[in-house]
Structures are given as structure tokens and as C-alpha cells.
């Protein structure tokens, strides 16, 4: 229940704008850090076009609840203020300013969305507030020289493209590659990553590049033109709807390239099933997480650990949703950083320890994939493993590769 008093307090606090912020108790520690609490903030699209990602924020809140139930971090409870920004950058700016200036959080953790994080990156760096483990796959978050207070988490798109390039150089150095990409920073990251990964051979190996707009109804003509270019290898850097169209169209016109499908669109239920499971057979992708629906992990210790957490702290949640393992592991990474900080919870030290993670393993990361950061490496997960779709589920093959 809402207590009336609390409601009035909240209302009065923001409406009356009585900004009597308490002075910091310890000069050394970041704002929001006391003996009992570490207050942190984030924005999440709980409403709006990207609201399905809200599951990540919920998983993180649930995981911190578990940490707090077990005594917190050296007796300090983690208090995550997770605010809705509806995936609208101006709202993100407003909410982040509220968190930093009004609520006095120690830092920002896992705010979601590339445009949203772009909108606040300069503000947070100017103020020297850590923007930790942003929930987006763009490559630009790994830029410690220009933005020493911003750090990514998941493998970025260029990393993934590097892995495809590595595989091709080793297994099919004479490949003729056709690329289909979404015409924005996300799609272009794959093109840049692939060219970068292929190095000198990019010019001869890439025979055709096609792009599409999210407003396009279909990508049929692009597929036809890729086929007629003589390409025998296909990098499909598209979002789910277009990925399904591309798989089906290339099958229907009899084009049978080695098909690399980007990690963005690996969902069996929302991409491969609509495309047709038999038409999707043979498609290759790279991943870093254990697929929670894959029966292979049934007896895996990490999977069991995750399942136990979900049953206890998110009993109503969809166990097939990949965003739950994602949120849990991002939260675990933060817990590790805070543990490493010991009693020095200044913003500088939090950033320093975030850049000081070594071979950290996570229950739902594929075996062999580890989190590593350093002063000049702000991309925590850089390894992925290739997997092939067998008509029913994804099958891992080869070694874990670093991009």
C-alpha cells in the first residue's frame, strides 16, 4: 500500500522543488553511499516501443533483492532506482538528471538503448558519474580515452562481425561475401566490423553490399540482387522481421549461401519459426549466452543456479526470455565490481574496479567465455561461440572465439 505520508512526501519533494540535499557524509565515497546503502540509478523502457526489454530491469531489481536478502555488500544494501523513460531520449535526460541531482545516486547502471545512452553520455562524463555497463550493443561505448566514465557490457556488433571474419579467413578464405544491413549505426557496425576483421582481403572477398530502411515493406529485391552478384556467403545483419524475410526469400529463390545471421535475430520463436524451420536449417550465428530453452543445459550447474534464482525471485516470469539471464548477469558483474571496491566507494574507484575485472565467469555465459576489462578495454564480453541451426535448435560448434 501507499502510505499517504510517503505519497505526500514524494509529491512535495518534487513539486515544491525544495532541494535541500544533504551534504555528503564522507568526502571519499560517492553520493548515495552510506554505511547501510549504495544507491544507484538507471532508466529502462518499461513503456513504449522497446518495452519488452523492461524484463532486463526487472531481473536486475530481483537480483539485487537476492543480494540484499543475503546481507548486501559488506552490509550495504543495493538500492536500484529504475525509472521508465519510454525509450525517449529527452525523457532519459530528465530522468537521469533527477537520479544524479535529486536522488543523488552513486552512478548509473545498465541504462538501456543506444539513443538514450547517447543523450546522457556527455552529461555523465562531464560530471564524472560512472555510466556502467550500458545495455546496448553499439561499438562506441568502448572508448575510454574520450569517455572514461562510460562502459559497455555485452559483446558489441563489431566484435561479432570480427568473429565471423575470423571463421571465414580460417575455413573459407575464397568466400564471396554479400552483405545485407540495416541502414543505421547498428547495421553499419557489422559492415565496419567485417571489413576490419577481413583486413586486406575485404576488398576481394566482399562482392556486394545491400541495405534497407526499417520503413521498407520487404527486402526481396536486395536478396535477388545479392544472389545475382554471385555471392556464396551471406552476412545477414538485420532485425527480426527482415531476418525472417531474408531467410525465406533466399531459400525460395534457390540461393544457398553460407548464411551468417546476426545475434540480434537469433530467436527461434520470433524469427526462425516465422521464416520456416526447414528453411532456416544451416544458418550460422554467434552467441555468448546459454539459451535457456536449450535442453542441453538441463543439468548444467550454471543453468540450475539461474533457475533457482528465477523460481525464488521472479516466479511469474517467462523462463524462455533471454533478457532474464542477461539482467541477472549484468547485475552479478556489478556486484563483483562493488565487492572489489571494498570500503573505497568513490566514483573514481568504482570506475577503476569496473576496469579491473579478470576472467570473471557467469552462470549463463557459454563455457569458456569470461569477462575481462582493463584501463584501455571497456568492452567486458568479447568472446562468442559459433552455432548452427539444425532445423530444431542451435548447435554449438568450434572453439570460443574472441573478436
Amino acid at each position: 500500500m501507499i502510505s499517504r505520508r510517503r505519497l505526500l512526501q514524494t509529491t512535495a519533494a518534487s513539486a515544491a522543488a525544495l532541494a535541500t540535499r544533504s551534504l555528503r557524509a564522507w568526502a571519499a565515497n560517492a553520493p548515495g553511499v552510506t554505511d547501510k546503502e549504495i544507491k544507484i540509478g538507471q532508466t529502462m523502457p518499461y513503456s513504449g516501443p522497446a518495452s519488452s526489454y523492461g524484463a532486463i530491469g526487472k531481473a536486475e531489481l530481483a537480483y539485487f533483492k537476492k543480494v540484499n536478502d543475503e546481507g548486501g555488500i559488506s552490509g550495504r544494501m543495493i538500492n536500484l532506482l529504475s525509472l521508465d523513460d519510454g525509450y525517449s531520449p529527452p525523457k532519459t535526460v530528465e530522468q537521469i538528471r533527477r537520479l544524479v541531482e535529486q536522488d543523488g545516486v552513486a552512478f548509473i547502471f545498465q541504462s538501456l538503448g543506444t539513443p538514450s545512452n547517447s543523450a546522457i553520455q556527455k552529461y555523465l562524463n562531464d560530471r564524472k558519474v560512472p555510466q556502467l555497463f550500458v545495455a546496448t550493443g553499439a561499438t562506441k561505448w568502448n572508448d575510454p580515452k574520450r569517455f572514461p566514465w562510460t562502459m559497455g557490457w555485452q559483446p558489441n556488433y563489431q566484435t561479432e562481425a570480427h568473429i565471423y571474419a575470423k571463421y571465414l579467413l580460417a575455413d573459407k578464405p575464397d568466400a564471396k561475401i554479400g552483405i545485407l544491413y540495416q541502414n543505421d549505426d547498428y547495421g553499419k557496425d557489422y559492415v565496419i566490423g567485417l571489413k576490419d576483421g577481413l583486413g586486406d582481403k575485404a576488398k576481394t572477398m566482399i562482392v556486394k553490399e545491400e541495405s534497407y530502411e526499417t520503413s521498407d515493406p520487404t527486402i526481396d529485391s536486395q536478396i535477388v540482387s545479392l544472389q545475382s552478384s554471385g555471392a556464396d556467403t551471406f552476412l545477414n545483419a538485420t532485425t527480426p522481421k527482415f531476418a525472417a524475410q531474408a531467410i525465406r526469400k533466399s531459400y525460395d529463390i534457390g540461393w544457398k549461401p553460407i548464411h551468417f545471421l546476426n545475434n540480434v535475430s537469433i530467436s527461434v520463436s520470433s524469427v526462425l519459426t516465422p521464416a520456416g524451420l526447414e528453411k532456416s536449417a544451416g544458418v550460422i550465428t554467434a552467441d555468448y549466452r546459454k539459451d535457456p530453452t536449450d535442453p542441453r543445459w538441463k543439468d548444467d550447474a550454471g543453468y540450475k543456479q539461474w533457475l533457482e534464482f528465477m523460481k525464488k525471485y521472479m516466479p511469474d516470469a517467462d523462463l524462455a526470455d533471454n533478457d532474464h539471464p542477461y539482467g541477472m548477469m549484468a547485475a552479478m558483474t556489478l556486484v563483483q565490481v562493488l565487492k572489489q571496491c571494498g570500503n573505497d566507494l568513490s566514483r573514481e574507484n568504482i570506475m577503476k574496479e569496473a576496469a579491473n575485472l579478470h576472467d570473471l565467469e557467469m552462470p549463463m555465459l557459454l563455457p569458456g567465455i569470461k569477462i575481462n576489462t582493463s584501463a584501455d578495454n571497456f568492452a567486458p564480453i568479447k568472446q562468442m561461440q559459433l552455432q548452427r541451426f539444425n532445423g530444431k535448435s542451435w548447435e554449438l560448434f568450434g572453439e570460443v572465439l574472441s573478436g
Binding site: 514524494t10 518499461y46 513504449g48 526487472k58 539513443p115 541495405s211
Partner: protein
């Protein structure tokens, strides 16, 4: 306010507590202005930022109110003009190196042209059909902003970052305070102009077209020209607001101008009070603060309620409309009329509000 002759509830001779109604109005205006001037010295910089947004949205709502409140044309697409204004400023500042303050009138004029041109075909569309046409405008704008051939200018999906301007001339203000006064300094003449516009011949023509287009045409009002011009002026206000909004937030991207923005504008106009100058201000307060309260209330309900902010927002909206069916200003007018009635001769007054 004395904005509208035809809705004025009481004659100036009426007395309340020894002062005439118009004197009370002047006192109210002065108090509001004084309050507006001290806000940034009293509030934290975060709240100053929020109040700056209130001023910005108030300008946009003023624009929409001219169109919807006074002229009776419903627009579900004013977010598009807001977006155009913001992008004109961002592109001029980042790509052409124009100082930010000089881009504001340019943004307004571009939107004036765009609004006038959009108003021409829209003339054939009445009521709900116009609402749908403008709805399409709001839907298409983010997509056009993402269009690849414009990406060198618009920055595509990534949008454009701008530096936050500092106070000029060595004024002892921080950046947030300066931006607040900058927006306020533009808002005041714009409100004054809007007030004069609706009290003028043109304003009466706008209202006449809203209330009875056939009668207005018979009286010699050029319906087509007045409607297009109203559309243009309305877009001008919203474009200026968009430009200021871009400067204040320091970032523009297609995702900033979703359909929700256009809908919030319409909600703000209706909640504040249709066909009233002050309504824009109350509407802007609603648009900026109520979603935040909804979020906080939803937080108090626990973590599971994370999907609820918009449901709570909806409930609050319904409550507002139920308690104040003619908007905040309508309610104030009713209250004022009751007061005058009580203080005066006890004669019943005409229906106040619009």
C-alpha cells in the same frame, strides 16, 4: 486573464474584497511573473531544468491551443512541427556553426511555412479527418528523420548532440538558470502576442469559424485563409518550442519525437483548458510533472508494478477530466465566477469557461 471577451465571466465593475476583478487579475499576473522570475534561484538545477521544459511545452501548447482551442481544428501531429523546430536548430548549430540563439527564429519561420503549406490541403479535411491526416504526419516524421539520404544532415537514428550553452556576458547564472531565462524571455512576448491575436479581428474570425463556419463565411470571413494562417502560426509557436527543447535537452534523435509527444500536446491543451491563454501553462505543468508522479506512485506499489505508470497516468487523466471537465482554467473561471457571484448581487452568471 482578460484573454477572451466572449468568455469573460464578470464585468469590470464587479468587486471582490474591495478590488475590481480586473485588478485581481493584474495582481495574479504580477504574482505569477514574480514567481516565474525567482524559480531558478530557489529550485535545484534539476528542477530548474524541469521548469524550463514547462516553459518550452507551454509555448508548444499555446501554438496548439490557437489551432484547436480557438480555431477548432484538431491536430494529432504537432509533435512533427516540434521535431522540425528541434532539427532545424540542431542542424544549424552542429553543421553550419550558427549560434544557438539565432536558430530559434529560423526554426519558427521554417515551421510557419511548413504549417501554412500543410494547412492548405488540410482545409478540405474537417474534424476527425484532419485529426487523422495530422496523425499520419506525426507517424511519418521520425521515419523521415531516419531516412538515409538525409543522414549526413540529421545524423540518422543516432541523432545530433549539442553543447549546452553557458550564460553570456559573464552573468552569474549557471547553464540551467540561463536556459530557463532564455526560454522565459521568448515565452513572454509569444504569450503576449497570442493574447493580442485572439483578442483581435483575426482572433474573432478564428473563433467564429470554430463556432459556426457557415455564419463566419457569410459575414465575410475568408475561411480558407484564416484556417491556413492559423495552422501556420500554430506551427510557428510549436517550432520555436521544438527549437528551445532541442537546446535545453542538448540532443535530438528521431525517437525523441514519437507519436506520444503529439498526443501529450493534445492532452496538455485539453487538461489546461481549451481556448485560454493560461491553459497552456497549466497543460505544460501537467505534461511535465504528471508522468513522473505516475512513475513514483507506481514505484510505491512495488517492483511488480513496473508496467503500471501509464495506467496510473490514465487514471489521473480521467480524474482530471472528471473533476475539471473544462480544464484547469475552466475550473478556475468557475471558481472565480462563484466568488464574484457570492460577493456581488447573487445574480446568476452565464456559463463561464469554454
Amino acid at each position: 486573464m482578460t484573454a477572451l471577451g466572449y468568455t469573460q465571466a464578470a464585468a469590470p465593475t464587479r468587486q471582490v474584497a474591495g478590488l475590481s476583478v480586473s485588478a485581481w487579475r493584474r495582481i495574479g499576473l504580477g504574482a505569477a511573473l514574480a514567481l516565474a522570475l525567482i524559480v531558478p534561484f530557489w529550485a535545484s538545477s534539476y528542477h530548474t531544468f524541469q521548469f524550463t521544459l514547462v516553459v518550452v511545452y507551454a509555448i508548444a501548447l499555446m501554438g496548439l491551443n490557437l489551432l484547436t482551442g480557438y480555431n477548432g481544428q484538431i491536430s494529432l501531429g504537432h509533435g512533427a512541427f516540434y521535431a522540425i523546430g528541434a532539427y532545424v536548430t540542431a542542424v544549424l548549430v552542429q553543421k553550419a556553426g550558427v549560434p544557438y540563439w539565432a536558430t530559434v527564429p529560423v526554426a519558427g519561420l521554417v515551421c510557419l511555412g511548413a504549417g501554412f503549406l500543410f494547412g492548405l490541403p488540410a482545409l478540405r479535411l474537417e474534424g476527425l479527418y484532419l485529426a487523422l491526416a495530422t496523425f499520419a504526419l506525426a507517424l511519418v516524421t521520425p521515419q523521415i528523420l531516419k531516412f538515409k539520404n538525409f543522414a549526413t544532415w540529421t545524423g540518422g537514428v543516432q541523432g545530433i548532440l549539442m553543447d549546452k550553452p553557458d550564460a553570456p556576458w559573464g552573468l552569474p547564472l549557471d547553464s540551467d538558470q540561463w536556459l530557463y531565462f532564455f526560454c522565459l524571455a521568448l515565452a513572454l512576448p509569444l504569450f503576449w502576442a497570442a493574447r493580442n491575436l485572439v483578442a483581435s479581428r483575426t482572433g474573432r474570425a478564428m473563433v467564429a469559424i470554430r463556432d459556426h463556419p457557415v455564419a463566419a463565411a457569410t459575414m465575410g470571413v475568408s475561411t480558407a485563409l484564416t484556417k491556413s494562417l492559423t495552422f501556420g502560426v500554430s506551427a510557428f509557436y510549436t517550432g520555436i518550442a521544438g527549437s528551445l527543447g532541442g537546446i535545453v535537452v542538448g540532443f535530438v534523435a528521431p525517437d525523441s519525437f514519437s507519436i506520444l509527444l503529439s498526443l501529450s500536446f493534445l492532452v496538455g491543451v485539453v487538461v489546461g483548458g481549451l481556448a485560454s491563454i493560461w491553459g497552456a501553462l497549466f497543460g505544460a505543468l501537467f505534461v511535465v510533472f504528471v508522468p513522473n508522479y505516475a512513475d513514483q506512485i507506481s514505484d510505491l506499489l512495488g517492483e511488480r508494478a513496473k508496467a503500471l505508470p501509464w495506467a496510473i497516468y490514465g487514471v489521473l487523466l480521467i480524474a482530471f477530466m472528471y473533476l475539471m471537465p473544462t480544464g484547469v482554467v475552466g475550473m478556475l473561471r468557475t471558481a472565480a465566477a462563484r466568488l464574484v457571484e457570492g460577493a456581488g448581487r447573487g445574480r446568476s452568471l452565464g456559463k463561464p469557461g469554454a
